[in-house]
């Protein structure tokens, strides 16, 4: 019996020892976070706001937003370009065959808005660092929130399909309402303009950076939004603010084509940064506009043959067109085929054109003509008086392939002729049309029954 007791005792103590040394309590099971950090306690300095701002800008550079989709979607639906289906891309959009499973910018825009809200929600006073810098970053976040909401409403809003619904306005990150419903177009417009006004006050020119948000980017965008919605007084005021700041100027014609291959030019107000080590490669704008050497690649978005005739001899802008084999191609804008070039989001020339149009619409034809001519002369084109048609034509020539034409056609109530992969006419969509509002993605409808789909999908 003694032996058994001793054995049992020794065994249980060995077992207990082993158990204690290799056993585990809840703390032993704590996973290591090496690449990520927990949201609580991660934002303590003004510099952390900068990190998140870069995160938001990085999301804006994705190919599902400004990296390709925002621009290609609008060019292919307009009379500037069509999809030749070389890799099967953008034929759906070019032929207006989209439905709730056809992708879009919805998720990317709200991704940018979420990060902007993280920055805006921080109590700047409690962060260590320069208070003016913190204010600038929060102003930048307001700008990005406004930009994303504007891109959402001009794509998904019903203003050109005969309805009034806009998109959900989101101003809090992980707030109380995780299932918002769609606000009206006018509510969205008011929210955008309010954000841009706040952005202008909060930012400071000492922190301006063309690859980040500068102070006068806010009124520049406000002029774009106002022109789109027909608020010509506001457009004139905001455009004037930008022009009178004296910070930016029209790029000379000789430098025009080359400016798309260089960064931070004098006419750039806001551009998204890409580089050799940070680019979209095959998913970039360069790749969708051009064939790669040897005829491989995508190159689906091809200019309409008619655009060549728009440029008179001597117009510096004709240099953006070229031929690959027998195919007319956009060679000049977004030139690097792998997307190493920056993507301009706001250029000074657009503000000049906004100003000219606002002046014209407000009855000040003389000043409108001066503004219009300043751009035409810089480009080597002949000067024309300011009429609506001339201004629209100048916009088309200047901003070709940059994603502006579709919005111009929409706000002027135009009918749209759409084409197939051989540039053959497939039909006409008369204005207004349910197809002019992009379908809300199926994922949103399935998760959130407060959001209703646009008509006809």
């Amino acid at each position: 019996m003694k032996k058994i007791n001793f054995k049992l005792f020794s065994v249980t103590s060995i077992f207990a020892l082993l158990l204690i040394t290799s056993a585990c309590a809840t703390e032993d099971l704590e996973p290591t976070l090496s690449q990520d950090k927990s949201v609580e306690g991660a934002i303590t300095k003004v510099d952390n706001l900068y990190g998140i701002l870069k995160g938001a800008l990085n999301r804006a550079t994705s190919s599902g937003y400004w990296g390709r989709e925002m621009i290609a979607l609008n060019e292919v639906r307009s009379d500037n370009a069509f999809s030749n289906g070389n890799s099967g891309r953008y034929t759906t959009q070019g032929e207006f065959n989209y439905n709730e499973n056809s992708g879009g910018i919805w998720d990317n825009c709200y991704g940018v808005i979420a990060l902007a809200n993280v920055i805006i929600q921080q109590d700047a006073a409690s962060l260590e660092g320069d208070a003016a810098l913190a204010s600038h970053y929060q102003g930048a976040a307001h700008f990005l929130r406004a930009l994303a909401h504007f891109d959402l409403v001009r794509t998904y809003g019903q203003q050109h399909s005969g309805g009034t619904l806009g998109v959900p306005i989101v101003t809090t990150f992980k707030g109380d309402d995780l299932f918002p419903s769609r606000s009206s177009v006018s509510e969205v417009k008011a929210a955008i303009m309010s954000d841009l006004a706040t952005a202008y006050t909060m930012m400071d020119t000492q922190y301006d950076d063309k690859e980040f948000i500068s102070k006068f980017a806010a009124p520049a965008l406000a002029s774009r939004v106002a022109i789109y919605f027909g608020e010509y007084q506001l457009a004139e005021q905001n455009a004037a603010l930008v022009i009178n700041s004296g910070i930016y100027s029209i790029i000379p014609g000789a430098d025009f084509v080359g400016s798309f291959a260089t960064k931070e030019n004098v006419n750039s107000i806001f551009e998204l940064a890409y580089s050799q080590t940070d680019n979209l490669g095959g998913n970039s704008l360069g790749y969708i506009y051009k064939f790669a050497p040897g005829g491989t690649g995508y190159g689906d978005v091809q200019p309409m043959a008619a655009v060549e005739a728009l440029y008179e001899t001597g117009d510096a802008r004709a240099g953006i067109l070229g031929y690959q084999g027998d195919k007319l191609t956009n060679m000049g804008k977004y030139p690097d085929i792998n997307g190493w070039d920056n993507v301009p989001v706001i250029r000074y020339e657009e503000i000049v054109l906004n100003y000219a149009e606002a002046l014209f619409r407000n009855g000040n034809t003389a000043n409108a003509t001066t503004q219009l001519n300043s751009l035409q002369t810089a480009r080597g084109a002949s000067t024309t008086p300011a009429t609506l048609d001339n201004i629209m034509l100048e916009r088309r020539k200047e901003l070709m392939f940059e994603g502006f034409r579709w919005d111009d056609l929409m706000r002027t109530g135009s009918d749209i002729i759409y084409h197939g992969t051989l540039e053959n006419v497939l039909g006409t969509l008369s204005y207004p049309n349910n197809k002019f509002a992009y379908p809300v993605p199926a994922a949103e409808l399935n998760a959130n029954s407060n959001v209703t789909q646009n008509d006809g999908y």
């Binding site: 065994v11 077992f15 158990l19 099971l29 996973p31 998140i52 550079t61 990060l115 918002p180």
Partner: protein, 1010 residues
């Protein structure tokens, strides 16, 4: 001197042993009086055991009052006291129930197993000539479905046991090797190239048996990760006696089991285009040939083709590696003496894939030793090393540089070779695969070391203590290089990415076993166990581009470094287990009770721990008086079990709301929100109920098992879709439930068994019914169902039920393709967007699976056949938009099309065809029921014909055994729906793809024993 030595050694012997010991030697014979090698002789209640040698002899040192237990598969276990006089033991031919089954942390007699366990031996596991042993399980286990991702050697498989229980969490069963859980799955870091299974480093020749644990009673020991079943692998051990050597080798050739759809020739493509263009422009062209002339003059692709003399590129021939060789060589030795046993093996396998540019080879070694350190301590170490290399291809989607893409998308109007025999470097979407596969590199080098070490200590009678340490070390190096001369990387001057990862898993287990014999007819086995498992992953990767010359494959030569990355992650599991096993009334009644408390680092600190349990009971009716003399039933066991197990198979760190720091903008690091977080996140729980009857009838002629199971999974770890306005697409929550139930039958008929001629047929059948019972709801009370353009996850339906608009066929009068507006019947429309998406019935998971085994042997000749059937599911054709539409724009343009587009198209009113009137335009992605096929299929998996030379012939040669055989795999395939042209073995995503199909192989093999 001698006497002194003898005396001292005797004293030492006595001193070392606590109680007095004696050596027992004897012989074990089978029921025919012949020696039985490899029988197990165990000192009952301890882990002290030996195996009989080739002559059936054994020698074992046991306590004087010990009982010896002698067992061998297929024979009734015998017991004899150590104090008996005669140790010539004859075993009686047993029945299935007395087989020893490895269940979880223990092994038990079949009659004492209360759970649903199927065991396969080494013979069944080496029937299939593939590098990964899990594929051999197909058709052998009722309720287990396995589909391979691809036929590329070394590829991963998806295993599902008893249906699918989880919607977003993983559904793979837990893999355990020699008692320790190990990692499994894809080790490649690429989602576009061939996957590589961690199991491909393990040589099937080293495996003694695989047990598949299916229900709660058997999986509860692995509690928290056993919800999807457990696959136990036990490696071979040696047996004491003379060293035995074994050489097995085979060599064979393989081809694709299914060719796939037949594509157009160049002339057919031209014909197709001519007709389609004519149909679109009947006012411009007077005839089809008129349209053809226009094409030849104006469309550059065809103009160049005509000018070049109308070459014909047969891409299928170009990319096929006809009669791809496969070979394997394995040399093993096993032996031992009274105190130790060993098993060692060295193997080499080399396999070329049936497509160019892909191959696999492996060198593997195994060393298993057990040694009795003294009569109380036993040490065992099982170590295996596998060094493998896989040359893979881009195959997970239609990548232009993948060779399989070329077979189906490659333009036939091109010339494959130039006049000088070099590959033609033409432009266009799909580059010449001959050049690409030759010059690009897509390699994975993978090394895996698994070492399992255990020490057991016999404390006293019936009480054993054990400790185990298992280390699973995996190193994976991947190199992906695209060349500088031709292909998509030419603008960048070539691209290279190199990555290195290592992954270590440590498992520590400590346990106490106590066997309490209440009296002769009742016994209780107690076990308490403590386990800790930790896994650490380190990854490093770099990529660069712009190489100054071709033929440089290392990053030192890259002119422009593009990206670098390194990362680390870990997870931990801790558990405590207690179990009781009761056998009473001479084995008539058996009961099992298991409780396990487990914690997993994937969940928040407040929700980390879960409790899991199971109860099982069995009633051996054949031991009851009323059946004891039965002529019909040899054995009849009723068993039932109920238990709770869990599933934690989600990605790491989901419970934390995290900021990620791996983005960059303008050359600086950027921060973004990555997970929504959920501090309440916890286990998925599974409640399983199982009831079955195991039977053996008519003196071993019929044996089998019939059972019913029901598995309710609750608190599913579901990635609930969030409104995209939050900036996140989903949040992982515990919500939703799924039910799986079905019937399983395993049966074997020994139709004829005699000395010269044996014939047996066996098989298994299983039904699976899968239904989502509840899902998350949004604030308005609407179910948040998860929908794609093809499937839906909704209450009352199987997971990922097919959800498509219904195709109404081609209108015989107009030739237009039509769809039903309401998805069922009635009005039709030619506008796709007007057709409603409806449930099509079924999902991609088969509802009925069956396997059949036939065995014949006659005087040394033998024939084995194995077939498999799966049905009740539907599969969808991938890529049809580019290859199989009557809007032939893509097929006549840059890509290819099915030959049936030309042969089965509508041409005049009254034609009833599958394809509508041809048109040269394209359609966007329109997914509908035309491309949804019944997925039922059956295959003759293996057919082996061989000859075993018998002892008398071999006497004098020094050989103990010689076997010659020929074997075929996947010789015959049957598909229910002929319109489905692809291989019917489709993975559980349900879509046919461009991955290499399973292979059909013929091999010749030789096994030598000496």
């Amino acid at each position: 001197m001698k006497k002194l030595l003898l005396l001292t050694s005797a004293f030492m012997l006595i001193a070392f042993s606590g109680w007095s010991q004696k050596t027992v030697t004897g012989t074990v014979l089978d029921d025919g009086g012949l020696p039985l090698p490899g029988a197990t002789v165990i000192e009952k209640g301890t882990s002290n055991g030996v195996s009989t040698d080739f002559d059936g002899n054994f020698s074992i040192e046991v306590a004087e009052d010990a009982t010896l237990e002698i067992s061998f598969i297929g024979y009734t276990t015998a017991e004899i006291s150590a104090s008996a006089d005669d140790f010539n033991i004859t075993l009686a031919a047993g029945n299935e129930l007395e087989e020893v089954v490895i269940t979880g942390y223990t092994s038990q007699l079949r009659s004492e197993v209360t759970g649903a366990v199927t065991q396969l031996d080494s013979e069944a596991l080496t029937q299939l000539t593939v590098p990964t042993v899990d594929q051999a399980l197909q058709g052998q286990v009722a309720g287990l479905t396995i589909t391979t991702n691809s036929g590329t050697p070394g590829s991963t498989s998806q295993i599902r046991i008893r249906g699918i229980s989880s919607i977003t969490a993983g559904n793979e069963p837990l893999l355990v090797i020699d008692g320790a859980p190990v990692i499994n799955g894809n080790v490649s870091n690429s989602t576009s190239s061939s996957f590589m299974s961690a199991l491909s480093a393990i040589d099937a020749n080293n495996i003694a048996s695989i047990s598949v644990l299916k229900d709660a009673a058997s999986t509860a020991q692995y509690g928290a990760r056993g919800a999807n079943g457990v696959i136990l692998i036990t490696t071979k051990t040696g047996s004491s006696g003379e060293t035995k050597f074994n050489i097995s080798s085979y060599y064979g050739v393989q081809n694709d089991a299914i060719y796939g759809p037949k594509m157009l020739t160049a002339n057919q493509k031209f014909e197709l285009y001519s007709e389609a263009l004519y149909n679109d422009n009947t006012d411009t062209f007077s005839s089809i040939s008129d349209a053809g002339d226009y094409i030849l003059a104006n469309v550059s692709r065809y103009r160049n083709w005509e000018a070049d003399g109308r070459p014909e590129a047969n891409w299928a021939d170009v990319i096929t590696n006809q009669d791809a060789p496969i070979q394997e060589y394995n040399f093993s030795a096993s032996g031992g003496d009274d105190n130790s046993t060993f098993y060692a093996s060295l193997g080499y396998m080399k396999q070329e894939a049936t497509v160019i540019g892909s191959s696999f080879d492996r060198i593997s070694g195994q060393l298993n030793i057990t040694r009795k350190l003294n009569d109380k301590l036993t040490f065992s170490s099982n170590s295996s090393v596998g060094v493998t290399e896989q040359e893979g291809i881009l195959e997970q989607s239609a990548y232009f540089e993948g060779p399989r893409t070329a077979k189906f998308f490659g333009d036939p109007l091109l010339r494959v070779l130039n006049e000088d025999g070099t590959p033609n470097q033409y432009g266009g979407g799909v580059p010449n695969p001959l050049y690409i596969t030759r010059e690009n590199i897509n390699d994975i080098k993978f090394t895996r070391i698994v070492t399992n070490n255990s020490l057991t200590y016999d404390i006293m009678d019936g009480l054993t203590f054990g400790t185990r340490l298992n280390v699973d070390y995996v190193i994976r190096d991947r190199k992906y290089y695209t060349n500088t001369i031709y292909g998509y990387s030419v603008p960048n001057g070539g691209e290279l990415s190199d990555s290195h990862a290592n992954n270590v898993t440590y498992v520590i287990q400590n346990y106490l076993d106590y066997n309490w014999e209440l009296n002769d007819s009742h016994s209780l086995d107690f076990k308490i166990l403590q386990e800790y498992q930790t896994n650490r992953f380190n990854g490093l990767s770099a990529s660069g581009e712009s190489f100054p010359d071709a033929g440089l494959f290392y990053l030192d030569n890259a002119g422009a470094p593009v990206s670098v990355g390194s990362n680390y992650s870990d997870w931990h599991v801790g558990a405590y287990l207690a179990s009781v096993h009761y056998v009473g009334f001479d084995g008539k009644y058996v009961g099992d009770l298991t409780y396990r408390r487990e914690g997993n680092s994937r969940f928040g600190p407040d929700n980390r721990w879960g409790d899991f349990y199971s109860i099982g009971a069995a009633w051996n009716l054949h031991k009851e008086d009323f059946l004891a003399d039965s002529d019909i039933f040899d054995n009849l066991k009723l068993r039932a079990s109920y238990g709770k197990s869990g599933n934690a198979n989600i990605s790491l760190n989901q419970y934390q709301a995290l900021l990620a720091y791996d983005a960059d903008y303008a050359g600086q690091g950027a921060v973004y929100t990555s997970t929504f977080g959920n501090s309440d996140l916890s286990w998925e729980t599974n409640y399983s109920f199982d009831v079955a009857v195991d039977f053996g009838m008519l003196d071993g002629k019929i044996a089998g098992s019939l059972g019913y199971y029901q598995r309710d999974s609750e608190d599913l770890l579901l990635n609930v879709p969030l409104s995209l306005t939050t900036g996140f697409s989903s949040q992982t929550r515990n919500i939703g439930s799924v039910r799986n139930n079905g019937v399983e039958l395993e049966i074997n008929f020994n139709v004829i068994s005699s000395e010269d001629f044996n014939f047996s047929i066996g098989g298994n059948l299983a039904t699976t019914e899968n239904e989502v019972t509840t899902l998350a709801k949004d604030p308005n009370g609407d179910t948040i169902n998860i929908q794609t353009s093809r499937t839906i996850i909704d209450e009352g339906q199987p997971i990922r039920a097919w959800y498509l608009p219904t195709w109404a066929g081609v209108n015989p009068q107009t030739g237009a393709e039509e769809w039903y507006v309401n998805g069922v019947d009635g009005a039709t429309t030619t506008v796709f967007n007007e057709a409603e998406q409806v449930l099509q019935g079924g999902s991609a998971l088969p509802t009925l699976t069956a396997g059949l085994n036939i065995h014949l042997d006659y005087k040394g000749f033998y024939l084995d056949a194995n077939g498999f059937y799966a049905g009740g599911h539907k599969v969808y054709e991938g890529w049809h938009r580019y290859l199989n539409e009557s809007a032939v724009g893509f097929s006549v343009g840059p890509y290819q099309g099915y030959e049936t587009l030309l042969t089965d198209a509508w041409r005049q009113p009254g034609d009833v065809t599958r394809n509508g009137k041809l048109t040269a335009g394209t359609v966007p992605w329109q997914r509908h029921s035309k491309f949804l096929y019944d997925g039922d299929w059956a295959r003759l998996r293996t057919l082996t014909f061989g000859f075993d030379f018998d002892q008398s012939t071999l006497a004098g040669t020094g050989l103990d055994g010689l076997r010659l055989y020929v074997r075929g795999n996947n010789l015959l395939t049957w598909k229910k729906d002929d319109n489905q042209k692809w291989d019917p073995e489709v993975d559980l995503g349900g879509e046919t793809g461009l991955e290499t199909p399973p292979t059909q192989s013929f091999i010749v093999g030789l096994n030598l024993k000496f």
